[in-house]
């Protein structure tokens, strides 16, 4: 009677992973992450039952604590994201990426990501200093660089 539970937690974990990698709404991402945590703690409980050891149950309580911390911090971050960008789209939250790969798309743009241009389809280092090509300042409305200049 343990193996169905283990199989269930494997399926839940995979579903959570799928949701985490394909969704774009931050809320859905965090829900998928919580689902993965639930599946792992289910695994712990199943093994605690199989081995008759309370360590597994204590570990589930740890996971609960960590999940609560994670939810608190994540939702605070979501509130900040919403305040800055007025959207819950994760792909608007890329300010720390390589500037050449950041093409801040408008919210309603459905063709993300744009087709890579021919001259810049390989990996490249981030240029040091402040935005040499004036790229961010010219193209994005609300990037940090633009905010600092203005």
């Amino acid at each position: 009677m343990n193996q169905p539970v283990l199989a269930l937690s494997a399926v839940l974990f995979a579903l959570g992973l799928f949701g985490l990698t394909t969704r774009r709404n931050v809320i859905l991402l965090f829900l998928s992450m919580e689902l993965m945590l639930v599946s792992v703690s289910l695994n712990f409980a199943a093994f605690a039952f199989a081995h008759q050891d309370l360590g597994g149950q204590v570990f589930v309580l740890m996971i609960l604590t960590v999940a609560a911390c994670e939810a608190a911090l994540a939702l605070a971050l979501v509130v900040q994201l919403y305040r800055m960008r007025h959207s819950l789209d994760v792909q608007l939250w890329q300010s720390l990426g390589d500037p050449e790969s950041i093409r801040p798309a408008p919210i309603e743009d459905s063709t993300w990501p744009r087709e890579p241009s021919k001259e810049n389809d390989g990996p490249s280092l981030a240029p040091a200093g402040r935005d040499p090509a004036g790229y961010l300042a010219s193209e994005s409305i609300d990037s940090p660089a633009a905010a600092h200049r203005g």
Binding site: L31, A50, L64, A67, A68, A72
Partner: protein
């Protein structure tokens, strides 16, 4: 009876998790996550850990979901965020996740439960009692220790005391951090969109 309950709760959990992944509206996804958590709590009861069931329902289906719904209503969007991550190849990711499930299921299939799993009557012991002293104790008529809230609490505050204290400290730090992060600065209050 127990296996029927296990299958029932597992079915509910899988259906709810599929709903979580497929629903477009975050509120529906959050509610189906709560459903999955309730099914998981039922499984905890089947797995002889009732305290975990209560704690899971309180923390996940209670606190976390409420906070999620609160944040969702706080950030009402004019246009909902795009659903699919456009850069991601859904088919490829689905195949990878399916392969992961297959791999895990193969591993589970080859896993043998330890010989100490016995029914409550201790009648169907399959291991070799002569090699495992704990098993021989069971054979000698000791009933399986019942996992109660008291025994869980005793183990939590004796053997795992430091871990519990660390978890409590982590929770405190996370609370303070969340307060600091979510607090609007004066510039944000004034201008709304610009960073301070």
């Amino acid at each position: 009876m127990q296996s029927i309950l296990t299958i029932l709760f597992a079915t509910i959990a899988i259906v709810a998790a599929c709903g979580l992944v497929t629903f477009r509206h975050p509120i529906h996804a959050a509610l189906s996550f709560a459903m999955a958590v309730f099914a998981t709590a039922g499984l905890y009861v089947v797995l002889d850990s009732p305290y975990l069931a209560a704690a899971t329902v309180l923390v996940y289906a209670g606190a976390t979901i409420i906070v999620f719904l609160f944040v969702l209503m706080f950030s009402q969007q004019i246009r909902p965020a795009p659903f699919e991550s456009k850069g991601a190849n859904r088919l490829k990711i689905g195949v990878i996740c399916g392969a992961l499930v297959g791999l895990l299921l193969a591993g589970i299939d080859s896993w043998q439960p330890p010989a100490r799993i016995v029914s409550a009557t201790g009648s169907d012991i399959t291991g070799d009692a002569s090699t495992d002293p704990r098993l021989s104790q069971l054979v000698e008529g000791q009933t399986r220790p019942k996992s109660t809230v008291a025994s869980l609490g005793r183990s939590m505050y004796t053997r795992y005391l430091w871990a519990m204290e660390l978890a409590g400290t982590l929770l405190l730090i996370a609370c303070i951090g969340a307060l600091c992060i979510a607090q609007p600065t004066e510039a944000e209050e004034g201008m709304g969109e610009n960073r301070s």
